[in-house]
């Protein structure tokens, strides 16, 4: 439905987007995930027409929109700071886009009522936006973007300014609303939990390029590059010192790999305790043991002053103590090859 082709943007001498390509399918929620400064917001602004790229094309349903000005693109954009109009009440805000479309007042009113219902704020028409709570503002902003029935809904860190508890609740609700209305959406965030919860597919961005585009499960289970793995806060990433055929040598041992990876990730799901005389087991000394509720996080000091971090369920006694000698094995399919 949406095709972004070779988008290049530079602010002065600083490249922000470097020939970026991305496709979003109809009714798909695509999440742009990356650290701040990676260009994800700029990409969104290019799609909206608020930023004019030096090169590249934005194609919607087969038609380029590069020459269409912002206000004629028919997209919806939800801003991180919500950007509600402080001089208008809730209804005035939501009706703004409808007014721009030239909808008669009666229909406008009906539509405002409908979208307020959708976002769960029925009866809020006359409220002053300055007196709404953070969550309510977020819903009004969403309602305002939904009201004109946009071809594409873009959301720029829409939960970024809310507190963590509210964020967790709203992200689920947001996905439900977008799916119910049946919209194509591009969602920008720097929080991978949020991305996992909302996205059909995630595009992980780094320094103006896309590192990996996949379903959330795949992104988590099989990150492709060192950047993606580190961005998801995985531990146990070891660079490949030397590679012989399909075997890579690292500071903590030799592992089977695919291709020519720069590093291997020993996925925390695949680390298990084994007897000390098991072949290929990694030996180490427990350095830290932290109770984390549903288990213990163990930091194991292994050869060459490296460390392995993994979780043991609290249901598997005996709990290792600090200083104890342990042996662990890695499930072969949880050894992930990472490109540089």
């Amino acid at each position: 439905m949406l095709d972004v082709q070779g988008i290049t943007v530079a602010f002065g001498d600083t490249p922000v987007l470097r020939g970026l390509d991305l496709s979003v399918g109809k009714n798909e929620i695509m999440c742009l995930l990356g650290p701040s400064g990676c260009g994800k917001t700029t990409l969104l602004r290019v799609m909206a027409g608020l930023e004019i790229p030096q090169a590249g094309d934005v194609v919607v349903e087969g038609v380029s929109v590069m020459d269409v000005p912002v206000h004629e693109r028919g997209f919806g954009l939800m801003f991180q700071d919500f950007a509600l109009f402080p001089h208008l009440d809730v209804e005035g805000n939501i009706a703004f886009g409808l007014k721009m479309q030239g909808l008669p007042p009666a229909q406008r009113e009906a539509r405002v009522r409908d979208v307020l219902d959708v976002v769960g704020l029925a009866g809020f028409e006359r409220r002053d936006v300055a007196h709404l709570s953070g969550g309510e503002r977020q819903r009004v902003a969403l309602a305002r973007s939904l009201a004109p029935n946009p071809r594409l809904l873009m959301l720029d860190e829409p939960l970024g300014s809310l507190d963590a508890a509210l964020r967790e609740r709203l992200v689920v609700e947001l996905r439900a609303i977008i799916k119910r209305v049946g919209l194509t959406a591009v969602y920008v965030t720097h929080d991978h939990h949020e991305a996992f919860a909302i996205a059909d597919r995630i595009a992980v961005m780094n320094a103006g390029r896309i590192e990996q585009v996949d379903a959330p499960e795949t992104i988590y289970q099989r990150p492709k590059s060192m950047f993606v793995a580190q961005f998801l806060r995985f531990e146990n990433i070891f660079s490949v010192i030397r590679q012989e055929g399909e075997i890579a040598h690292t500071a903590v041992g030799d592992f089977p790999v695919e291709g020519k990876p720069g590093a291997v990730l020993l996925h925390p799901d695949g680390i298990t305790l084994v007897g000390s005389n098991t072949p290929d087991a990694i030996q180490g000394i427990v350095r830290e043991r932290v109770f984390v509720g549903d288990g213990y996080q163990i930091t194991l000091r292994v050869a060459d002053d490296q460390q392995l971090i993994f979780k043991l369920p609290s249901t598997s006694p005996p709990v290792p103590i600090i200083g104890e000698q342990l042996a662990v094995a890695i499930l072969p399919d949880r050894i992930i090859s990472l490109s540089e």
Binding site: A48, L50, F75, F85, H87, M100, Q101
Partner: protein, 561 residues
């Protein structure tokens, strides 16, 4: 976050063209007249020549004038600070009924024209004033017992009247932002009474006191109307002397040299002030406001004494002005108001005083329009672009505020009376001069409002289908409208009351209200005096209405002064 840049590229060309307008205005009607003053003072027959300037600087008369200007300003500043400090304490630390109303009323003098204030003090304690008449009637005296007319004392009192509220507001707002726990700590450590003031309060308040002091010094150093009218011929600040040399004695090189000294000194002081003000702004911590209700009779007395002084200082002259304007030889009369419409001299050039009301209103409307247009464009320029250009332009557009109106008026008559720009015969000079003085107020009122609009709000309107023009009209204009109204009201009021520049550029047949008041005050006779007070009362009414409008609309964010 990724950088937010306004997508103004397509509009860039038109935009830049529009921005040239206020810049051109500034060059033509500010820098060119100023440069002409330099020309008169620093050249002789087309050659750069410092001898004339040096002669002026070396003369004893000049040094006396400069010395008087400095010490009367210093004295006024010291008096104002000493009187405002206890008041600031009351407003910073105590909560009492009517507090916010009083605080906003205290800014009234800010919009009162100097001629009105001069007339008001004359009506209160002048030889024909309310107090003297009362004393003479009560004790059967033949001569007014209080002889303050044309004395420095009267000038100083008027200066305190003008600047009391400035100092009070600056110091008390800074004070109320200081953590009261600090004082409590000092008390626990054993400080109390005078030592608490000396060792803790004053040092803590020093930045605010210094900034207020500098501002008051600037205002009183450039004092013109008050000194000219209340001081009489014996006293002259640089400003008054520039006027006298240029208009009465036609000694242009002398006037130009004095203007140069004035401009140089003011810019220097202004730079110091701007630095300090930035520090005060960043210094203020958002501590819990510590205003509390007074707890014992001593605190109540202290508060009452201060409020009494404040209301007396601020309102007694104004009440006296109105009362005196309705008082004739036989009690209540409206004759002074009626006589305003009569052309008493039947001279071609001397018009009925009431006609000046029409002139003033017309000039004020023109000024408001011009100042709004130019000020809005300037505010956009300053809010949208960042970087070196803005850093350069921002103070540039504020320069007229630091330049005295008299200097400006003087520059106009020497610069704009010959080709290429011969406007001497044109009444348009008045609104032009007023616009220059008023424009900074519009910019300062609109700029904070514009800066407080996040770019995303305008972008949200665009994404929702509003063309740039509609987004501007439906979103930005409503959001800055309060700031614009405040700016426009300021512009209107400034123009109505402007005295210094008008005195130079007003043509005899198109005088403004302040000029007519000045002329009437200068002439002998009870009728002239009564008419001056009547006209002043009318002008005060205009300022008063404007003031109420401004105070009602001004919210925390509007107006960076």
């Amino acid at each position: 976050m990724d950088a937010n840049r306004p997508a103004l590229k397509r509009w860039g060309f038109l935009w830049r063209g529009l921005l040239l307008v206020p810049l051109l205005f500034l060059i033509l009607f500010f820098f060119y007249p100023l440069a002409s003053i330099f020309g008169v003072s620093l050249t002789l027959e087309g050659q750069f020549d410092l001898s004339e300037f040096a002669d002026v600087i070396a003369s004893g008369y000049y040094r006396e004038t400069l010395w008087f200007t400095i010490w009367q300003a210093a004295l006024s500043t010291g008096l104002t600070l000493a009187l405002a400090l206890p008041g600031a304490y009351v407003f910073a630390r105590f909560q009492f009924p009517g507090k916010s109303l009083l605080l906003s009323l205290a800014t009234l003098p800010f919009v009162l024209p100097t001629v009105v204030v001069a007339a008001a003090f004359s009506a209160l304690i002048g030889p024909r004033g309310v107090v003297n008449s009362l004393l003479m009637d009560t004790f059967g005296l033949n001569a007014p017992p209080i002889q303050l007319d044309r004395t420095l004392t009267l000038v100083l009192i008027a200066h305190v009247f003008y600047n009391y509220a400035v100092a009070l507001r600056m110091i008390s707002s800074y004070w109320s932002n200081q953590n009261p726990r600090m004082e409590e700590a000092a008390r626990v450590l054993g400080a109390h009474g005078w030592r608490l003031w000396w060792a803790v309060r004053l040092p803590v308040l020093r930045p605010a006191i210094t900034a207020a002091g500098i501002l008051v010094f600037i205002f009183t150093f450039t004092s013109f109307g008050v000194v000219l009218i209340l001081g009489g011929p014996r006293f002259a600040t640089l400003e008054v002397e520039i006027y006298r040399q240029a208009v009465n004695l036609f000694n242009l090189p002398m006037a130009a040299a004095l203007s140069l000294v004035q401009i140089g000194l003011m810019f220097a002081v202004m730079v110091v002030y701007t630095r300090l003000q930035k520090r005060i702004a960043s210094d203020s911590v958002s501590a819990k406001k510590a205003a509390r209700r007074p707890q014992n009779w001593r605190e109540w007395t202290f508060i009452a004494a201060n409020l009494l002084f404040m209301t007396g200082l601020l309102f007694a002259p104004l009440v006296a002005l109105v009362a005196r304007s309705f008082t004739g030889d036989n009690g209540f009369t409206t004759q002074y108001y009626q006589q305003l419409t009569i052309n008493s001299r039947n001279s071609v050039l001397f018009v009925p005083p009431a006609q000046s009301i029409g002139n003033s209103v017309l000039f004020a409307i023109l000024t408001t329009f011009l100042a709004l247009m130019l000020g809005l464009i300037t505010a956009y320029l300053l809010s949208r672009s960042q970087g070196r250009l803005t850093n350069l332009l921002d103070p540039l557009f504020m320069l007229p505020l630091a330049t005295s109106a008299v200097t400006l008026g003087f520059g106009y008559i020497i610069a704009l009376d010959e080709p290429p720009l011969n406007l001497r015969a044109s009444p348009v000079l008045i609104p032009l001069a007023h616009t220059l003085v008023a424009m900074p107020f519009v910019v300062r009122s609109a700029l904070p409002a514009l800066r407080s609009i996040p770019p995303s709000v305008q972008e949200a309107a665009r994404v929702l289908g509003a063309s740039p023009w509609r987004a501007w009209w439906l979103v930005e204009i409503p959001l800055i409208s309060r700031g614009l109204i405040v700016g426009a009201t300021f512009a209107f009021t400034v123009s109505m009351g402007e005295f210094g520049a008008s005195l130079f550029v007003a043509r005899p047949d198109t005088p403004t209200m302040p000029i007519v008041i000045y002329r009437l005050l200068e002439q002998p006779g009870a009728v002239n005096y009564g008419q001056a007070l009547a006209m002043s009362s009318l002008l005060m009414l205009v300022s008063g209405v404007a003031f109420i409008l401004i105070e009602r609309l001004r919210t925390a964010g509007i107006g960076e002064f």
